[in-house]
């Protein structure tokens, strides 16, 4: 059970390592420490194109701006509008729904495939390589592909749909369109989450399984009593990535449904795009974007907090 060290133990060992190194430096043996200035170009660049825009988005959310004239401050107008806007409320609800559906759809399958792929079955490598392919396709390519496959007149759905009792005009129905968007996202990102679970499973100490086997636990018992609890942090990582991923879904919706039918797949990022770059209401779009970041960050932090998953630093330990 040595791998399962408590945060406190980790802290202690880290502190010990630090003092050891510190003493070495103090004794004048810290060789060739680079100057901090080496990091400056990277920090400035990232600041300019990521941090500054983020701050600017918050500022613009208090402005009225049509993209042509310069932004004018309007105070809380955009924000009060946001809280009253039925379109935003619907978009928020749809985003939440999409996130929940995506999570519930992807997690069990990715977990299953990941644990499976971590094993030693024959043909596993070949199959894993095939599973991986969707990840290579761009979201755009995938959306274009599925848009064609799901064409009610000449797509595959015309043939396959009836076998499963699916109406070929699935993108024309409001529930169908949302489920399709979730499915297409799952199709694309499942291999990624499978890899995460595969990596996590590989790191579970084999001793645990040996002990369980000696105690007479079968594969199912082993899965629920060892694999699942040991993958707790992996599940958190994967879930956080899934939540942020589906909250920021955009390409698929733009290409496959254009937010429709009606506004039934107009999720928050698409609403932001429409407001900002089609209605040129960029101040309000910034408010929507800021709200999105706040919610996504809050959800991630909550998940991390509740599962007691501290840092992402040691992700590659033992690989």
């Amino acid at each position: 059970m040595t791998e399962v060290s408590t945060p406190l133990e980790k802290q202690r060992s880290r502190a010990a390592a630090a003092t050891k190194r510190g003493r070495r430096t103090a004794a004048g043996q810290g060789f060739g420490r680079p100057s901090v200035t080496w990091a400056l170009p990277g920090i400035i660049f990232f600041g300019l194109f990521a941090i500054v825009p983020m701050a600017l988005a918050v500022y613009l959310s208090f402005c009225s701006w049509d993209g042509l004239t310069s932004p004018t401050l309007v105070g809380l107008d955009n924000w009060t509008r946001l809280f009253k806007d039925p379109e935003f409320r619907q978009a928020g609800w749809l985003s939440l729904l999409l996130t929940v559906i995506s999570w519930a759809f992807q997690t069990p399958i990715a977990l299953m495939l990941g644990v499976w792929a971590a094993g030693r079955q024959r043909n596993r490598a070949v199959l894993s390589a095939i599973f991986f392919v969707p990840l290579l396709l761009s979201t755009t390519a995938i959306a274009v592909l599925f848009h064609s496959l799901l064409d009610p007149n000449f797509g595959v759905i015309k043939e396959i749909g009836p076998w499963f009792g699916i109406d070929p005009n699935i993108l024309g129905s409001s529930t169908g369109a949302l489920l399709t968007v979730a499915f297409v996202g799952g199709w694309q990102f499942m291999p990624f989450h499978t890899l995460i679970y595969q990596g996590g499973t590989r790191q579970i100490p084999q001793v645990l399984y040996q002990a369980a086997a000696i105690d007479g636990a079968g594969p199912v018992r082993q899965f629920f009593s060892i694999t699942l609890p040991q993958l707790r942090n992996t599940i958190t990582t994967s879930s956080v990535l899934m939540i942020v991923g589906s909250l920021t879904y955009f390409d698929t919706v733009l290409i496959m449904t254009k937010g429709g039918p009606g506004t039934d797949t107009t999720i928050v990022p698409y609403l932001m795009y429409r407001t900002g770059f089609q209605s040129y209401d960029l101040g309000y779009a910034s408010a929507i974007a800021t709200a999105l970041v706040v919610v996504a960050t809050a959800l991630s932090l909550l998940m991390v907090k509740f599962s007691g998953f501290g840092s992402m630093r040691s992700t590659r330990e033992g690989m």
């Binding site: 060789f31 988005a57 595959v156 390409d251 996504a296 690989m319």
Partner: protein, 288 residues
């Protein structure tokens, strides 16, 4: 050899089989395989079908007389411009990401100053910033810089948004290089720059290639930044081109799918050569 061991020692056998090949899970994996393969198969077969047949025939059947005509249509519709632009974006993005992230990660690992740990934390936070959140201000920023509708407008933000993951991966690889090696080099009188170039970089090749492939993939597949920050046909990248083909080809689905296939071929080629680095890199994102 393992077979011999298995028959000789039953205890070992249970260990080797871990986790046991559960038939139900195997079946599930097979089902997902079908779900992955059917769209891919249809993609390929449709791209080889003549347009008339595509509209009338069964899309699941393999074309009776396959044709490359659709590929010709796509290649003569300005595909090479798209390919060239995308390649420029990908190469420049990788170059910028590596040039800026390697020294940054090196500083984060090797100095224990307050500033470097603060910078590192900021980058960790950066992982959480979605591109959607910043496109409006980026649009303003890029326009102010006079870069709107240029490839640079796509390259700069794409590189910036690849940096958090790059720094994360690089710090974890650099951290594995033992202090003794630096000391040995230091005793020989090496400067910090030489240590970076002759020790840290060669020893963290795996991490560096992961970062390179990962950011190239990001750049190759990026859609939102090109959509918002470019406009003219000359600056169009592949993903936007595909989106545009949807309107241009209308009902010519085979041509559209041929374009999708063509857009994937370069990535697929890279994947064939760098599969291990890519898979290991992605696996490392989750970890335990």
């Amino acid at each position: 050899m393992s077979a011999q061991l298995n028959t000789a020692r039953p205890v070992r056998r249970t260990r080797r089989r871990r986790p046991k090949g559960n038939p139900l899970v195997g079946l599930g994996a097979l089902a997902w395989l079908v779900i992955v393969l059917v769209p891919l198969y249809t993609l390929l077969s449709s791209s080889l079908t003549r347009q008339e047949q595509a509209l009338s025939g069964n899309p699941l059947a393999f074309p009776t007389d396959p044709t490359l005509e659709n590929y010709n249509t796509v290649l003569s519709s300005g595909f090479f411009t798209l390919l060239f632009n995308t390649a420029v974006v990908a190469v420049a993005t990788v170059a910028i990401v590596l040039a800026l992230s390697v020294p940054l990660a090196y500083v984060a690992v090797r100095t224990r100053s307050r500033l470097s740990s603060m910078a590192f934390r900021t980058f960790l936070l950066g992982v959480a910033i979605p591109a959607q959140a910043v496109v409006v201000p980026l649009y303003l920023l890029i326009a102010e810089m006079g870069l709107y509708d240029s490839l640079a407008a796509v390259i700069l933000p794409t590189a910036a948004f690849s940096m958090p993951v790059a720094v994360l991966v690089l710090t974890s690889t650099l951290r594995d290089i033992s202090e003794e090696l630096y000391e040995a080099m230091g005793l020989d009188g090496a400067t910090p720059l030489r240590m970076l170039w002759q020790l840290a970089v060669p020893m963290s090749r795996a991490g560096i290639s992961t970062v390179a492939i990962f950011s190239a993939l990001q750049a190759w597949n990026g859609f939102l930044f090109p959509l918002i920050l470019t406009q003219s046909e000359e600056q169009r990248v592949l993903t936007l081109g595909l989106f545009n083909f949807m309107g241009q080809f209308g009902l010519n689905v085979p041509a559209l799918l041929a374009a999708v296939v063509l857009s994937v071929i370069p990535i697929f080629t890279v994947y064939l050569f760098a599969r291990r680095a890519l898979v290991n890199g992605l696996m490392g994102v989750g970890g335990k």
